[in-house]
């Protein structure tokens, strides 16, 4: 009979790849949000270009994009922006070598830059979450 292996990670396995650190998820999200914002931006340049047609053309354009699905799409851009901006600032700090500690002789208990940087990582993610919540509250009133 075929042996069944235990699902060690359980439902958490859907959310996390086990030994992938949270930095790895931040990397993937940074990429996805960057591409998403870029796609939006290119369409945005064309759409806001309708302003050259004056008030009438602008209003008919906004009437088209004013429906709830488009509003939800815009809100996704707000969420993507909040994450990409805050995480991007964190990456700039890392690339400048700030708050990752100094290199030293490896001695027990071992530590490494990602680990030393983790408290700051968490603080930045909390800031991103707060921005998303503020954007969400505004969005709630927009829909209401």
């Amino acid at each position: 009979m075929q042996q069944r292996l235990k699902n060690r990670l359980g439902i958490m396995g859907w959310l996390g790849g086990g030994r992938y650190g949270m930095d790895r998820y931040a990397y993937a999200l940074h990429r996805i949000t960057g591409l998403g914002i870029l796609a939006y931006f290119i369409m945005h340049i064309i759409v806001t270009g309708q302003r050259t047609g004056g008030v009438e053309r602008w209003e008919s354009t906004m009437a088209f994009f004013g429906s709830t699905p488009f509003k939800i799409g815009e809100f996704l851009v707000v969420l993507a922006f909040a994450f990409h901006a805050v995480n991007g600032l964190r990456l700039i700090f890392v690339e400048l070598g700030w708050w990752i500690g100094k290199p030293g002789t490896p001695s027990f208990p071992y530590t490494y830059s990602t680990l030393r940087h983790r408290p700051l990582f968490i603080v930045f993610m909390v800031v991103a979450a707060v921005l998303m919540i503020i954007g969400g509250v505004d969005f709630y009133f927009v829909l209401k």
Binding site: I37, I46, T52, A85, G88, L89
Partner: protein, 123 residues
């Protein structure tokens, strides 16, 4: 040398975008909350508001800056992703060229819009 210079611009443009887009998103997506706090007058995409901003030189100039910084940053980011795929040198050149042409075209169009709408002086 050229690659490290481009990368430096990628990081520098991020700092510029952080400020300009931060303000843009604040105007566009905190409108309701600001209105409740007594600032501004609600819907930021209402034509009176949109054309009221477009007639101001400060918006025209910062929009052109944001166009340049945003397009460079985003398209350079996309180019880096393509370059991670170990393309041949000639394919790399082609990708870089196509993205550069697309970026310049969008920049010119967006800047043209910002200037024309500025000159319409509010409609």
């Amino acid at each position: 040398m050229r690659e490290s210079r481009l990368w430096f611009w990628h990081i520098l443009s991020a700092a510029v975008i952080l400020v300009l887009l931060g303000i843009h998103m604040g105007i566009m997506h905190l409108g309701e909350l600001l209105h409740m706090a007594g600032i501004g007058s609600g819907d930021p995409v209402d034509s009176s508001q949109v054309f009221g901003r477009s007639r101001q030189a400060v918006f025209m100039i910062t929009y052109i800056l944001l166009l340049g910084a945003g397009l460079f940053h985003g398209l350079y980011g996309l180019r880096s992703m393509f370059f991670e795929l170990s393309l041949s040198k000639s394919l790399e050149k082609l990708v870089g060229g196509v993205l550069a042409v697309a970026g310049i075209a969008l920049f010119l169009y967006g800047s043209y819009v910002a200037i024309v709408v500025y000159q319409m002086n509010g409609v």
